[in-house]
Symmetry: C2
Subunit: 404 residues, 2 copies
């Protein structure tokens, strides 16, 4: 292990070199996007009809093409009749669900949340954009510790079971952002079966990394069936998209839920939009053909990004494996590695990195209200930079951790 003066000297050398590195962006790299370039050209001039004869260029079709539902429903672990496909952003679908609940309530309990001082449970560290939706709508957030197999369910059951203001919980159940955790069957079952005080309590199940494995896929229990088995089939809204399957800016977004929930949502959609871009759905259908091809496609993604994950965890292990200065996740999928410094050190690491030209995800962003109570979580996003850039960035990050 290097002594501190060597570390300091190496850090100064990088700092004065004017490096510009970025490990903050959870987005696919060019090579990944290139895998789907066929989407740009896969339709001929006369290919605009859906299998039922629908002219995809025209109005009509509120909730997605039948063949797009057929192609994608397994990604959400729901039936082909339990999915709606709309727009290009699952975040937008979540935002709209929360917004609608604020003004009109949810299926079965059409009482506006806005008038009830709603509270959401937020497993943390978690996804900053979920928290941003809550902040936007003025929903109070309660952080729930993330354990090795999902959120602390004792706490979830306790709080939701005793406070009627608790209306929802944000979950990224597979390869969770940023911890990489996949919820255990036990956690899924407890979420499905728990007895919240509020009968309009809903699980926002953002299965963003459903098929985004780096190797052998981890199993996630089918939440809709679990809810159904527990007699709570209307409890869950499932979200997903092809943003990290095809194009992050031009994919298709979808949601799954019980038939009653979807019918309720369709009523809103019929007022809200003329319908989604059916031509882009058709492109996805043509490009992939079937679900198995999507899974094969995801193996190509894994082949591109796994070496970057291996590089990060390998360097962490080699430099910090025995010194106790940090711990980190070893995710089997998803887009992030979650690094915990010693308590009270994350901001210092962030500042040192920033001063030397390395952009990290802002410390605190992975917690509600931007506040990491222990000041220790750093989210590393290895996918976007090249391997060479990642190596340089990691060298610098390791120096910063040592210095801090």
């Amino acid at each position: 292990m290097k002594d501190l003066s060597t570390v300091r000297a190496e850090y100064e050398k990088i700092r004065s070199s004017g490096a510009r590195l970025d490990m903050s962006r959870g987005k696919p790299n060019k090579e990944q996007l290139d895998l789907s370039n066929g989407l740009l050209t896969c339709l001929r001039e006369d290919e605009f009809k859906a299998s039922d004869g629908t002219d995809c260029r025209n109005y009509g079709g509120l909730d997605g093409l039948p063949e797009a539902k057929q192609l994608l429903h397994r990604m959400l672990d729901v039936g082909p009749d339990e999915i709606i496909i709309g727009g290009n952003s699952s975040l937008n679908l979540m935002f709209d669900m929360v917004g609608h609940a604020m003004l009109r309530g949810v299926y079965g309990v059409e009482k506006p949340w806005a008038a009830q001082k709603p509270v959401f449970l937020c497993p943390a560290p978690g996804y900053d954009r979920h928290f941003a939706i809550c902040e936007h709508f003025g929903i109070e957030m309660l952080p729930i510790p993330m354990l090795k197999d999902g959120p602390d369910m004792d706490l979830v059951e306790d709080i939701a079971g005793s406070d009627v203001k608790v209306k929802g919980i944000w979950c990224t159940p597979k390869y969770s952002n940023p911890t990489g955790v996949t919820y255990s069957d036990e956690v899924v079952r407890r979420l499905a079966a728990m007895k919240p005080k509020a009968d309009d309590f809903r699980i926002f199940w953002d299965n963003a990394y459903a098929i985004h494995s780096l190797g052998t896929p981890e199993d996630l229990m089918d939440i809709l069936s679990a809810c159904r088995d527990a007699g709570n089939e209307d409890r869950v809204f499932i979200f997903g998209s092809t943003s990290k399957v095809t194009f992050a800016g031009a994919g298709v977004a979808m949601m799954g839920a019980s038939t009653a929930n979807l019918n309720f949502i369709r009523k809103r959609l019929s007022k809200q939009t003329i319908g989604p871009d059916k031509v882009n759905q058709l492109r996805h259908v043509k490009f992939f053909g079937n679900y198995e091809n999507i899974l094969k496609h995801m193996e190509k993604h894994a082949a591109i990004i796994k070496p970057k994950f291996d590089l990060v965890t390998g360097m962490l292990e080699q430099e910090l494996g025995s010194c106790g200065l940090a711990s980190w996740s070893q995710p089997a999928g998803g887009y992030f590695i979650s690094l915990n410094t010693l308590p009270g050190k994350a901001k210092k690491v962030y500042d040192l990195a920033a001063a030397a030209g390395l952009v990290l995800t802002r410390v605190g962003d992975t917690f509600p209200y931007g506040k990491d109570p222990e000041d220790q979580n750093i989210r590393i996003a290895p996918t976007f930079p090249s391997l060479e850039e990642m190596e340089k960035a990691m060298e610098l990050l390791l120096l910063c951790i040592r210095l801090a």
Copy 2:
């Protein structure tokens, strides 16, 4: 003019023939959509970068590509910095604007409308989907008579000027749905300069037919400049789309407003979405190249649909021109012909037509709450059926009017 027994006999003949005709759908026909098939194939596999280097396949770019703004801003009569491009549905942009105002208010007056029993002024007959948004959000609607040059401005000024609950007005200012009216300069100026009681009063300016002329375009005064001149530049939200320019289901939607308004909206967008489909915006840029080509493209649309409008108005004139049983619009653009029967006869005409296999827009749909106070307005949508179908449908409609 045929005598009544001839009319009855001809009606019965059609009724028993099992005809199936439809004049209710304000959507482009196949020939019109074919004009834009180049959109399906205009990008090559390596064409995914915007002019500023943005990879349109990836995340980023909240409010539209710079070159798409450059291409489309004149359609809304705003500057290239006064436009946001997002999604494929301008209706969705309107819905979101109203929804946001309900929960959070508008720029400058961030008080939720929901708590204030909001009222909208609804020039009528008008667009049913505007009214549906109000119904969805529980906004009370006050119908305002449409005159030859726009809504009755005396009434608008009176009501909005005296009631703080009046928060907005729906306008389709050019080739209005369904009347075909283009607002006069005087009306636009009065809307821009009026003194509503509510300082969060907003004009929802749905310029859906901005460039959809059938011949020589009518001039519509630039509302944003008019508002600015009157010191009210934050009063108006302008909406438009390429739904009836390129593909009704896969075009691009946009809105224009003051810089302050747009910045306020961008704050919401940053929570709501990962950004619009930039690849589809790029397609539109590549396909058209410049705004002049869009205008030329619209002349091709006109060449296809004008004969249908001529057929409808020609047959109305020939059969009913002198008998006083009905009056109708002679629109210079847009998608509809508005027909007024004698008071109390429209539903009868609708029922007779339906019984003989002709679908018309439901009587009342062009009014708030689906109630035509005079039971006389019928909206004819000539674009979708073929000329032959239109001729048959019109023959039947004329018989129904005579019978009623």
